[in-house]
Subunit: 241 residues, 4 copies
């Protein structure tokens, strides 16, 4: 079992056209043989100085904690992800202030020409939900739009390169770029409690499709395997509740 | 004196080509006649259940608190600013996780065509400081670059409008825009302790010029007037120290 | 209406035998004529750059925000309370990490002899809820217990005074005191979003009676008057939901 | 080398008369073979998408980060400690809001009679530092005071037991106890950046002796071994700087 979890460390899930999420580290680490659910239980049991009384009692305790929003025990499980995502996704992500972020900097480095998010499917504006999308553009019109997008990215990037060649500072030359589309790489460290809060908001129906893909990959490919009982309780009381 | 401070509420300082910072509110409010420095002192004195012993003693206490990093009393002074700034500035700002933000949403509204940051001066890449700038492009070359930038903004915006006209969702159509340049409006609420930390980092020499202008305006036009003794101590022990 | 709210500033509600909660300040301040609910709406409307469309539309927006857990607009309303409570209450309070605290220090000052919490009613241990109470001790037994408690407080305080007289440091001499009962004075600054979270947990049935009294006083005497629409929505979607 | 660090997990350092600190877990875990300093470097290098260029370059980068207060890379190293300490220590500890805490609860369990902090050395009040101590009581007077303290603890605990026997709720019966002296067990999870801030304040000369012992043990027995380069830089630029 712990072997299975070890294989999650360093596992990279491709996202969008050239993004990914990769589990960098987790505490407790699979190599220790300690399960995340067990770490939650251990910290919760300190309240009454009790010892674990077997798997079924542990499950009940985790369900009790989740149901009654005793959230602190879930803070002792911590994840680090390496994420590669366009700025339109990061722009929403970094608003979650409960995580630690380190991101690539467009001031330090020249942004590469092949690192733009290029959708192949174009979603239509939802008439009812002002911030959402509903349905898709037909494929021919979509393909044409994608071609125009690529051409616009290329024009912008060429101007960026030209400005850099003239000696303009990177921090300012990036004004030429199609900023929302630029891929950034970053590290995110967050505890399970705060991550579940992020996931609730960004796996929701009204979240933007792009960040939803990342949130769902984080949940379904990693968090759910690493803390299965906590996730089972979370789905029951918080996600569906 | 409190009349002077009242005039700061709602005062708008123009920034860059079409941005601004405006003090929306502050606690304690000038209308109460209570000075921010007095609120700091009042909360600090609760440690030893003491009363204020006059202005000179208050000044000494604030200097003592700042010098010895007793930071909590500075958390009881709270500011709300309304800020209009390009995304390149917000992208750095929102990384400060100790503030409360509400921002305009490019998912909710169509971004207007005349709301792009257009520099007239182009800074050159610093050879020594990899993330900074040094000196300026000569004015003729700069003017030409600005014209290219405006033309590129217009092309991108036209494509954005065209995509919207085809029914594409706003959240996705914005990929066409020169994202770093788009002006966003937002509310920022932050206490004095956390604001001074933000200001130290963003008024620094190595901060990007654009956000420095905002940080300096916040400090010199508002914070310094509202909490003059705390700012005097901060300059002495933290900014210069 | 704003006159009514102004009278809340400085209003002190007695708690337990010698405690109190007092509203020290609030942003927006009543003297400005701006209602807290209006500040919430103003910050939320920046998302779509909209203006207030009257009271009924504002109410609907606040309900929408609360129902869908769009919590950031509630962070721009900020309260400062001055609280006088026994350590048994503070011990639970300071675990809420989203507030700014300044407290009296038993290292700085000699703790006074008449500042102990002395209950007149003794609650019985709940048989079902391991952390709670149910029912009361009969009055005669209770009165006897209270007398023993007072006598024990006095013995402890006399030993504390004796240790101080011998030159022992206050920080160490306090080991003699009945620490849970000692009254501390403190300042608490917290925004509405975080305060409502605190209130949900500490107004709950399973919260300890003493802190529940404080939480309920804060809610019913202050917060509910200052942000009536937000509180109405909170009761509907969060407290009862 | 990684073997040495593995032996730190579960290592318990005795503190005061019956307390301890024990490293429960750390991310990155020694079993992974990844050093904490390497994790700091890896997250920092994402800024410029660079790879590690050997130990000396890594050391320089960490020194640069610490010197210029680029603090986020230090947030990806996370510790969990199990701590057993008297409330007088926890009372100060939990005021650090940047950690995750789970503590034993005096509402859930009956506090045991042999779990009181009993100093053998009594420190004298500092005449110059109002919140500190200087020198010690002579040993004979100190021994007598300790005997009085023990007797007072016993009287209080007997009254607590008597109240419980009468059916009084644990949450209220604890008023009889010498609360500052009661040992509590707790879990603390905190990242390296926030832990170093805690350590700076609590290893300082003016910190109370008891919490200083815990802070110094955490630093000298654990943190310093786990992140030696970060600690070397911290001592140079922050602790001594």
């Amino acid at each position: 079992m712990s072997d299975d979890l070890s294989s999650l460390i360093g596992k990279r899930i491709p996202m969008l056209d050239r993004g990914y999420v990769e589990l960098q580290d987790v505490m407790p680490h699979p190599a220790t043989g300690i399960r995340a659910d067990a770490a939650i239980v251990a910290s919760a049991r300190v309240s009454f100085m009790g010892e674990s009384k077997g798997e079924e009692a542990d499950r009940k305790l985790i369900h009790y904690l989740m149901k009654h929003r005793h959230t602190t025990p879930f803070e002792h499980v911590v994840f680090t992800f390496r994420v590669h995502a366009p700025l339109v996704v990061w722009w929403q992500w970094v608003r979650h202030r409960s995580a630690s972020y380190n991101l690539m900097s467009g001031r330090y480095i020249e942004l590469p020409e092949d690192e733009y998010y290029t959708p192949t499917v174009w979603r239509k504006q939802s008439p009812s939900n002002k911030q959402g999308s509903l349905g898709e553009l037909e494929s021919e019109a979509g393909a044409a739009l994608t071609q125009e997008l690529i051409a616009h990215y290329e024009r912008g990037h060429a101007l960026y390169k030209q400005a850099l060649a003239q000696g303009v500072a990177r921090e300012q030359a990036r004004l030429f770029l199609s900023g929302f589309a630029v891929y950034y790489t970053g590290y995110i460290t967050q505890n399970l409690h705060n991550m579940l809060h992020f996931l609730k908001l960004r796996m929701a129906d009204d979240a933007q499709h792009e960040i939803r893909l990342y949130a769902e990959a984080i949940y379904r490919e990693f968090v759910k395997y690493i803390a299965p009982i906590a996730c089972e309780a979370w789905e029951q009381y918080i996600l569906m509740g």
